[in-house]
Amino acid sequence: MDSFQNAPALPPRRRRNLRPLLAAILLSLAGSASAADEPPRFALSGFGTFGLTRSDKDNYRFHSSSTQPSTMPGQNFDPSTDSVLGVQGTARLSDKFDLTVQAVSRQAAGYDYTPHITWAYLHYRPTPTLSLRAGRTTTPFFMFSDSLNVNYATPWLRPPAEVYSLNPFSDLDGVDAIYRAPLGQMDLEIQGLVGQSAVLTRSASGRLRNARALRVGLAGTGFSAQAGYTRTDLHLNWTDGFHQALRRQLIAAGEADAADELSGTHASAEFFSAGFQWEKNNWITIAEFAKRKVDRYISTAHGWYLTVGHRIDAFTPYVTYANQNQDTPAFCTPVPAIHAPLVGIYNNSRNTAQHSLAFGTRWDVARRIALKGQIERITPAPQSRGLFPSDTLADYLRPTTPVHVLSLSVDFVF
């Protein structure tokens, strides 16, 4: 019906949509209030997930990130791991400038769902191949860093935690430049960033200062690949009980210098990641490697995963193998042997090494809505608890066992 209700017989200038107030304000700011018959310059959109996660053992509560505080018994269905809601507005101020703000609500380390500003930047395109952005963008640590909360966009239920938990810093306050150029049949993208970041996890507060990053990406039909490198100063303050206990014990034994190596403001860190996505004849392959190298306070570790999926009508079943290894433990400063037991537990509580095999499927039930289910078998590394942190000393003295985790979610965009 629409096609002839608005046929040219109507005087073109008569028809004018009532756009939201914000759009009107931005429009007048942009000095183009006369644009009645032009497309709107403001777009509002959003995304979200409602997910439930449980394991088969009460003392193994799954966390996909160190920012998640939940201490719910592992066998209870927990909505806090994957549930997220985000809203984003973009205003085109002119052909060369636009403004983007995104707010995301998901459970934070303080158990609250207070919306957090994840994007707030002014974007300037001086030439068609160059983009400059200033404000809050995201850290470039992983292939999917820039859309971590948008589960609808990916085939899997969540990005594999063995890689994506290696770095919990997600916001970057600073500036970046993106240069794009064709390279044969593909498009090359080079991005440089400088900025700083802060994060609160369940057991620490951290800051990145003077972070400098370089990312190179290549995209073609059905294929994309990227690699990134970041160098940064790291401030890290542990707040958990094991840290307090070890610190107290070291200071009481006159090892104050060693205690200062547990946490503080003098670490430097490097992050590297490389990955690719390839899609052909309804087969999807995604793989990524990432490494975190830190000189103190936290372990040096690396991880990788491989996902293969196959699209069959509305279903995309997939399988993922993922692995995280610790290269050096968090606390390596030599101390008298009497401290060894507590140092051992301290380091084990900071070792998230594990490997997992996951089977899952995406089901596109309706336009803009996907249901996903995943079952995974996670094997924490010996003497570590992998991504099942605990505050209880006894949990680190028991041998670890494989854990099965079931996750169900509905992802949507609007």
Binding site: D2, D37, Y152, V413
Partner: protein, 141 residues
């Protein structure tokens, strides 16, 4: 027969034919745009957010039709992606700030009005929906 009646009759005929979704789709721009040239490859790049300009560097904006058969048919023909794939692909680009999505018209009438009057705006329509203010850049039979 008045042009309005003819349009109504054609629309009725189209609605009755199951092959309506297979109608020819054309990519158009306003007569007010400059001397725009558009290759199929560049059209695909634009609609997949991998380019924001024409090959000669002219910045362009894009229009999307509302959800429906024409839109699905267009993306399938141009990018070989089904509706769910397009939404998933697009959502990543939008929410990672890489690309602003095409501007979605509320209905075909609105898209026609925009496309006839706004310079450097590109959009797709069924061939039978184009008006005199537009120029066809590319045909997707």
């Amino acid at each position: 027969m008045s042009p309005m009646r003819l349009i109504r009759l054609l629309a009725l005929a189209a609605a009755l034919l199951p092959a309506a979704a297979q109608a020819e789709i054309v990519i158009v721009t306003s007569q007010r745009s400059g001397a725009i040239e558009l290759s199929r490859e560049q059209a695909e790049k634009l609609y997949l957010g991998r380019a924001t300009t024409l090959i000669d560097g002219t910045p362009v904006k894009l229009v999307d039709l509302p959800n429906g058969a024409t839109r699905d048919d267009f993306y399938l023909k141009l990018t070989n992606k089904n509706p769910a794939q397009i939404v998933a692909y697009r959502s990543r680009l939008v929410f990672n700030g890489r690309a602003t999505p095409p501007i979605e018209a509320d209905n075909v009438g609105e898209a026609r009005q925009w496309l006839a009057e706004t310079p450097n705006l590109i959009g797709y329509l069924e061939r039978t929906d184009i008006t005199s203010g537009m120029r066809v850049l590319l045909r997707l039979p």
